[in-house]
């Protein structure tokens, strides 16, 4: 039961990462990312506040984990 989810993460990531070598053209162009770059579209606009609320919830609930988000933004480099 413990092995399966970990192997799932590993396989999924492995497959995705190998696939990054294939040339899939991005359907949202870098110059079309104005909305995604807007701070209101960030997963964690205030990371400290979000971490604090997670802390409050986990101290009172039996659940934990899988919160947060990555990616999005302007895609600039």
């Amino acid at each position: 039961m413990r092995r399966r989810p970990i192997l799932l993460i590993a396989t999924l990531s492995g497959a995705l990462l190998l696939c990054s070598a294939c040339s899939i053209q991005p359907w949202v162009k870098p110059y079309e990312r104005d909305r995604l770059a807007d701070p209101i579209m960030a997963w964690d606009r205030d990371a400290i506040s979000n971490a604090y609320m997670d802390h409050i919830r986990e101290s009172r609930e039996g659940s934990r984990g899988a919160t947060g988000g990555a990616g999005g933004g302007c895609g600039c480099n």
Binding site: L17, Q25, S63, G69
Partner: protein, 391 residues
């Protein structure tokens, strides 16, 4: 006596949250935050203060440091013996390093949390990779936590701590975030956490029916398994509304080897006004089933191998309504500061327990035989106030 470990344990778990605010193309802006929070509910008041600063040392390398103090005062419903007012303090420090190379961000961090009867240290590492024209971000992470758990048999002013054991926690996480259209981003996170060692809260006790006692029951120590493994999957999505606003939805499914199954549903709405104001409203509903070895009232002593009466493992649900306002008092910066904002956030949470009874305020004296006391429910309010300077 009962709530001290809540803070520490929760903070430890929060440190395991590895998938947090990475944008794998450019390191975020330098930022300093001063934060004040207050949690008030269930007979407890917890005040928190923290200061955080992050800065880029080079374009590819950033550091972040945080210092957090939590002060608890009050007595909760599960203080079963002397219902004395407790006071305690927890100090937490953490440091994070971030390194960006091409499309990959590597993050390493360390956190230490200390209170009189609980010490915890976490080391974590994660990797975030941007791909497919920066439309997809894949994150992998690992964290390891060591805890030392004790019980204070004295008072706040004259402590007498007995160290009871250690626990080791390992968390593995993976996540994928995908830009779907120019208005829409979605993600899925998976986290498996496994702990071993002393996992109980020493301040909480079980009760079992005992007709020889006036109150009708006897208190006894909890007995927890010495292992625990949990899996949580969260799916989330954010959508940009044409008049400039964002709506976010998320669902998390949680299950563990202790039999707890939790479902979380949350909806957020963010509404900015030009460059100066951001208003946010949120609604969250959480429901969980009790752990298999949990019971509000056991039939007799040693009725099971494992016994618990910890509120966190009860069958409960809670509903949160929150609102947040951010005001940019320096919308376009001033001197070295690019932007300055102040934020106020209030949440109101109603907790309902389906199999945990309020035995602090109700008992035989009020006409309730054991097991018929009213089910516990309470409201809590969480206030947050913070100042953020971007530079």
């Amino acid at each position: 006596m009962a709530h001290r470990h809540i803070l520490a344990r929760a903070a430890v778990i929060a440190a395991l949250l590895l998938i947090r605010s990475t944008i794998a193309d450019v390191l975020p802006d330098n930022r300093a935050d001063v934060f004040y929070s207050k949690y008030s509910g269930g007979g407890m008041d917890i005040t928190g203060y923290s200061a955080t600063a992050r800065a880029k040392i080079t374009e590819n390398f950033a550091v972040e440091a945080n210092y957090f103090i939590d002060k608890v005062s009050g007595a909760s419903v599960d203080v079963l013996s002397q219902a004395s007012v407790i006071k305690d303090e927890r100090r937490q420090k953490s440091g994070t390093l971030e390194y960006l190379h091409d499309k990959t961000t590597y993050t390493a961090s360390y956190m230490s949390s200390v209170e009189r009867d609980y010490i915890s240290e976490t080391a974590s590492f994660s990797l975030s990779q941007s791909m497919f024209g920066d439309l997809t971000t894949v994150t992998l992470g690992f964290a390891r936590t060591g805890n030392t758990v004790g019980e204070n048999n004295g008072t706040a002013n004259k402590p007498d701590v007995a160290w009871l054991g250690h626990a080791l926690t390992r968390a593995y996480s993976g996540g994928v975030s995908q830009i779907i259209t120019k208005n829409f981003i979605a993600g899925v996170n998976l986290q498996v956490i496994t702990d071993a060692g002393y996992l109980a809260n020493p301040y909480r006790e079980i009760r079992y029916l005992d007709t020889t006692k006036t109150i009708g029951y006897t208190l006894a120590s909890q007995v927890y398994p010495d292992t625990h493994t949990s899996t949580a999957v969260q799916v989330q999505a954010k959508y940009y509304l044409p008049y400039r606003a964002a709506v976010t939805g998320l669902y998390r499914y949680y299950t563990d080897t202790w039999g707890v199954v939790g479902n979380t549903y949350e909806l957020d709405y963010t509404h900015p006004i030009r460059n100066q104001w951001i208003f946010e409203g949120r609604v969250r509903y959480y429901k969980q089933s009790a752990a298999t070895f949990y019971s509000d009232l056991f039939p007799f002593a040693f009725s099971q191998n494992f016994t618990a009466r910890d509120q966190n493992l009860a069958a409960l649900d809670n509903t949160t309504i929150g609102a947040k306002v951010t005001y940019a008092f320096l919308p376009d910066g001033w001197k070295v500061f690019k932007r300055g904002t102040v934020t106020a956030d209030v949440s109101r949470i109603r907790f309902n327990y389906r199999d945990f009874r309020d035995i602090k305020d109700f008992g035989v004296a009020q006409g309730f035989t054991p097991g018929t006391e009213p089910l516990y429910q309470f409201d809590a309010t969480v206030y947050q106030l913070y100042l953020s300077m971007y530079f």
